[in-house]
Symmetry: C2
Subunit: 217 residues, 2 copies
DNA sequence: GGTGATTGGATAGTGGCACTCCCCAAGGAG
DNA sequence: CTCCTTGGGGAGTGCCACTATCCAATCACC
């Protein structure tokens, strides 16, 4: 198919597809002659993937390129490719390690990993950007005066581990070997907005259940 | 305290505080004379809250203003204020209702709410932006060819309901009546990055557990 | 074979956003 | 009285995700 049809079937404007091509998010089509390129179903699929990452996952264009680079890197073993792709995702800004709240958050986070028995990967996990994000969020909450119990964090962690198990079970049963990394990355990028939406819906529901709507009080 | 000290204690540059003041994210200090304003602990707290929403929660400045407006609106009952604040948070772009994947996602989402027994708030919930986000994410996954089981979604929803129960229990025990809405909003804004970080860590851990690191294969 | 429309590619421009720079006038210190 | 500091406000900056325009090659139709 040609650019116009690719645009038609994906719903992405032609100018935007050109931009993605320039940015290296899509591989160029097969050059038929100087003025015509042919795109196939794989291009369409990749384009939809890119769009989903950008629009649903709010991933910056430069990061999409990086993530896809890792996903496509057949030279690396699977866990490393997944890890590399996840590490490339946008993260919170670097924490200030001199801040007392940040140091305290590190301690709590380390204890948490210990309790969860995630220590086998601890060397890796403690330098992961996700670990940093966790520490930053914990420190921010504490700085605002919310001194939550580490047990609460443990409960959250168990819930999210449950979600991760569901993700990877899904990857197991539904994806071919070659697609596993891609599916797992999508698990991180597209499932997260879904979880977030469910979380907010659940909050609204639970709040209404506990306190009613209050409009008759 | 004066602007310089507010900046010092919060770690936010003076120019940025001025910008927040101009944008209405902070109330002006008490004017002492034409050239001096006095800020108090409440300003500091509010500034930290704003910073956390922007940097950790990635909430746009205009949205922070809107959310805080709802949080501060004492005229409304609590559930409504919480709902209004959550609804103001940034969401995915409007779905194309003519798209077959979007319509199918609507059906699955409605069934899900039914199964969960969240139907008491259904009229509200189905017009919630979170509901829209959910539908968009579901449609995007399907469009990419991942035909997951609705049961999987139900399992995710139960997990996130568990998280919401933890959130609201925390609000119950740790916040004064006046702070409840603020805490609940923070629950949506600061707990979410924490959950996301835990989710990614859990994925890395679970992936390493199942497949090893693969570097000796 | 000529002619106007279409296509793909490159370049430059746009709009939004979160700051950030700079200047000014008012205080305050010596 | 002079110089330094401070708060306020407007204008500018840098980044990012597009998007509009231009150009030349080709294709459809006459």
């Amino acid at each position: 198919m040609r650019l116009a049809e690719l645009s038609e079937r994906s719903g992405v404007p032609i100018a935007t597809i050109k931009y993605y091509l320039r940015e290296g998010l899509l591989t160029p089509g097969r050059q038929i002659n100087a003025r015509t390129s042919e795109y196939d179903e794989e291009h369409l699929r990749r384009l939809r993937l890119v769009r989903a990452m950008i629009q649903v996952g709010r991933v910056p264009v430069a990061t999409v390129r990086e993530v896809l680079g890792h996903v496509d890197d057949d030279a690396l073993p699977r866990t490393i490719r997944l890890g590399a792709a996840l590490w490339a995702l946008p993260q919170v800004p670097e924490p200030d390690e001199d801040d007392e709240y940040v140091r305290a958050a590190h301690d709590v986070a380390d204890e948490l990993l210990e309790s969860l028995g995630w220590s086998n990967a601890k060397a890796l996990v403690t330098i992961s950007p996700s670990y940093r994000s966790l520490v930053v969020a914990m420190a921010a909450l504490r700085r605002l005066g919310y001194d939550w119990d580490p047990q609460l964090l443990l409960a959250y962690a168990r819930l999210m581990h449950g979600a991760a198990v569901l993700d990877l079970d899904f990857v197991e049963t539904h994806a071919s070997e070659a697609e596993k990394v891609e599916t797992a990355v999508l698990g991180a990028i597209l499932v997260e907005p879904m979880l977030q939406a469910l979380h907010r819906l659940a909050q609204e529901e639970e709040s209404a259940r506990r306190y009613g709507f209050g409009d008759r009080e």
